[in-house]
């Protein structure tokens, strides 16, 4: 039982990170019907920028407390990623808004490759370690171990998501966003500046990605120019699982995928009598994606219908 609980904790923490990243996909998809392939890379840039700032502050003569340093790192990473998100939308996606479907997708892949390689040129190919400046405390619950960082990640991402839901459903801006998602043309007739709404959506998603990036970096204690890619893909699978375009769906999908991966890697060997093992951990996300798309294309909580050829 303690092992099962531990796997559940592992899965929920991993899942809340997936969920944060999945929100960015889901928001952009909800409005533009575009998979922003570069979203995972924005997460990576967030981790890298905050790490650079943190290392700079540690190296400086200022004697700041650990939490403060991390906070400063996050505060730099968020605007940096917001600017990046804005720039990407402006340069790579907006000129193609009315082009054939294939075109923005290929650009998105291009942006993703460019960001990865620019990050590699700046920060190098090696894994960069995140300094351990926040003291880690570990707690025992029913034989399972959980750290203060894990609890923090789980609660903080929950709060962020709740805030986003409130923003979309309770504010004027949120209403404009939902209107744009339903029909950009009618929204603009109603006086909504569609271009601004799209830009702000990208900026919001990028801010969440930046926070997710810092969390991933701090949790695993490292950052790498390639870290965003697989994370982004899995987060996308999570968004589809929950129902793409649906914010609550992205959260549910993220948490579920995290738990599926964790329990899957932990128990697949026993379930299949040793025939399959943890070699297949990375297969689960894609299998989930294919199964959902075949049997329930609108996802668990989906609003949008996937098929719109």
């Amino acid at each position: 039982m303690d092992i099962f609980l531990q796997q559940l904790i592992n899965g929920l923490v991993l899942g809340s990170i997936y969920a944060l990243v999945a929100l960015g996909y889901t928001m952009v998809y909800g409005i533009l019907e575009l998979i922003n392939f570069a979203h995972g890379e924005i997460t990576m840039i967030g981790a890298m920028v905050s790490l650079a700032v943190i290392n700079l502050l540690i190296g400086s003569s200022l004697d700041l407390p650990g939490v403060m340093i991390v906070f400063m790192g996050v505060l730099t990473a968020i605007p940096a990623c917001m600017a990046l998100g804005f720039l990407i939308e402006r340069v790579a996606y907006r000129p193609l808004r009315h082009a054939p479907r294939l075109a923005p997708l290929i650009t998105a892949i291009g942006v993703s490759i460019v960001l990865q390689n620019v990050a590699m040129l700046i920060w190098g190919r090696q894994y960069i370690s995140f300094p351990a400046i926040i003291p880690i405390q570990r707690y025992e619950i029913l034989g399972a171990t959980i750290s203060n960082l894990q609890i923090f990640i789980f609660i903080f991402s929950g709060l962020l998501m709740a805030g986003l839901v409130a923003l979309v459903h309770k504010t004027r801006f949120g209403r404009a966003m939902r209107a744009t998602a339903q029909s950009p043309q009618s929204a603009s007739l109603m006086g909504v500046n569609v271009n601004n709404i799209i830009a702000i959506t990208f900026i919001l998603g990028s801010a969440l990605a930046a926070i997710a990036g810092v969390m991933v970096g701090a949790y695993y204690g490292l950052a790498h120019y390639y870290m965003g890619f697989l994370l982004g893909l899995k987060a996308f699978c999570a968004a589809v699982l929950g129902g793409i375009g649906n914010i609550a769906g992205a959260m549910l999908g993220g948490l579920l995928l995290g738990v599926i991966e964790s329990l899957g890697a932990g128990y697949i060997g026993d379930l299949t009598g040793g025939f399959l093992g943890s070699h297949y951990q990375d297969v689960f996300a894609f299998l989930v994606l294919i199964i959902v798309l075949v049997f329930r294309p609108s996802g668990l909580l989906g609003e949008r219908v996937v098929e719109r050829a």
Binding site: I35, V91, I109, V114
Partner: protein, 369 residues
């Protein structure tokens, strides 16, 4: 440049007249045939024999790019896991002609088998994804490519099928009857080293694939693909069975990939899962996007450019050393950055590619206005 190709330039008029002259076409055919036959000799003379090997890889990538072109260029289905079919073809060859299972079939039996198996995998991928829009399809195919690679990497236990991460070694070289293409042969006083023999084999198959691609493009099927690409609902309304036609695109594209994979295995003598990663898929996609989606000469141009580019990039290091005294940016690091930039810039400024098909560029320019 633009003036040269504008609609009423005298150059274009002469060129069109030339194109429609049957005699000129025959002369061009003979000249090109002779040049292609002499190409390895010319390349060796100018650049050394290792470039003949580069030439062989170029042909291999032309075949791969033409296969992906059917799926992406003709039918408009973005496939990011194309390398899976390449892998399937390569492993088919490796399993049927190596000491791993003790089978040693000749290549002219294995290549069709590889094409068939890869085609079946194409249908396997196509069936669940038929209903998906372009962007979902991209992610699912990407996942499919990864799944195939993960399975190839892990199917060494409990039963050793693929030999896992160690790959399969000592794969038989190409041989016809008792004649191995891996040895030098003297025909009519001309000695042909192994790379030359392989060049001619690859050339033959490349021409075959170009021929099939051309015939497909102008056939009913080819037109149906284009119809689906442009508007699936309208295509269905016109009585096209979109399901079968899409599956056919997947199967055809995959079978070209399977043939190329087989050739890769026979050429290298060693296959392992790490050769079939996502980057390879993206590189092949770059080739057709850069050259011109759906346009055979464009795709060939793209494949040639991107195979020769990394070789050319080697000189960038020397250039930097000459200019700045040291290598500032590692040219190998620039390769992917340039690919990514090329994808973005092409899509924004020249979405039909460097050498677009006349029809396609018309379509795309219409859409933009």
């Amino acid at each position: 440049m633009s003036q040269l190709f504008s609609k009423n330039s005298p150059f274009l008029a002469r060129w069109t007249a030339f194109k429609h002259d049957r005699r000129a076409a025959w002369i061009a055919f003979v000249v090109v045939g002779a040049l292609l036959a002499a190409l390895p000799f010319l390349v060796e003379l100018g650049l050394g024999r290792s470039w003949v090997r580069v030439l062989n890889f170029t042909l291999l990538y032309i075949m791969l790019a033409l296969g992906l072109n059917i799926v992406v260029g003709y039918a408009g289905l973005l496939d990011l896991g194309y390398v899976a079919f390449y892998a399937v073809g390569a492993y088919c060859y490796a399993l049927l002609a190596s000491p791993h299972f003790g089978l040693h079939l000749p290549f002219w039996i294995i290549l069709p088998i590889g094409a068939l198996v890869a085609g079946l995998f194409g249908i396997l991928l196509g069936t669940p994804t038929l209903r998906l829009r372009g962007d979902y399809l991209a992610i699912v195919t990407l996942g499919f490519g990864e799944i195939i690679r993960i399975f190839l990497n892990n199917l060494n236990t409990p039963v050793n099928i693929t030999n896992g991460p160690q790959g399969i070694n000592l794969i038989d070289p190409f041989h016809i009857g008792g004649i191995s293409l891996n040895q030098a042969h003297t025909i009519a006083g001309i000695t042909l080293p192994s790379t030359y023999n392989i060049y001619y084999l690859f050339l033959l198959l490349t021409l075959l694939i170009i021929f099939i691609s051309m015939r497909l493009q102008n056939s009913r099927i080819g037109r149906a693909w284009v119809a689906i690409r442009e508007d699936e609902v309208a295509a269905e309304a016109m009585g096209i069975n979109t399901r079968n036609i899409k599956l056919l695109a997947f199967a055809m594209g995959a079978s070209f990939g399977g043939v190329s994979g087989g050739l890769f295995a026979g050429l290298q003598g060693f296959v392992s899962p790490e050769s079939f990663n996502l980057l390879e898929s993206i590189m092949i996609l770059c080739m057709i996007v850069l050259g011109g989606m759906g346009h055979i000469p464009g795709v060939i141009l793209g494949a040639v450019l991107l195979t020769v580019l990394p070789e050319a990039l080697r000189y960038m290091g020397d250039l930097q050393r000459y200019l700045f005294g040291s290598v500032i940016v590692d040219p190998a690091d620039l390769r992917l950055l340039l690919f990514g930039l090329a994808l973005i810039i092409m899509m924004i400024f020249r979405p039909a590619g460097l050498w677009p098909s006349p029809q396609r560029s018309r379509e795309l320019s219409d859409v933009e206005t």
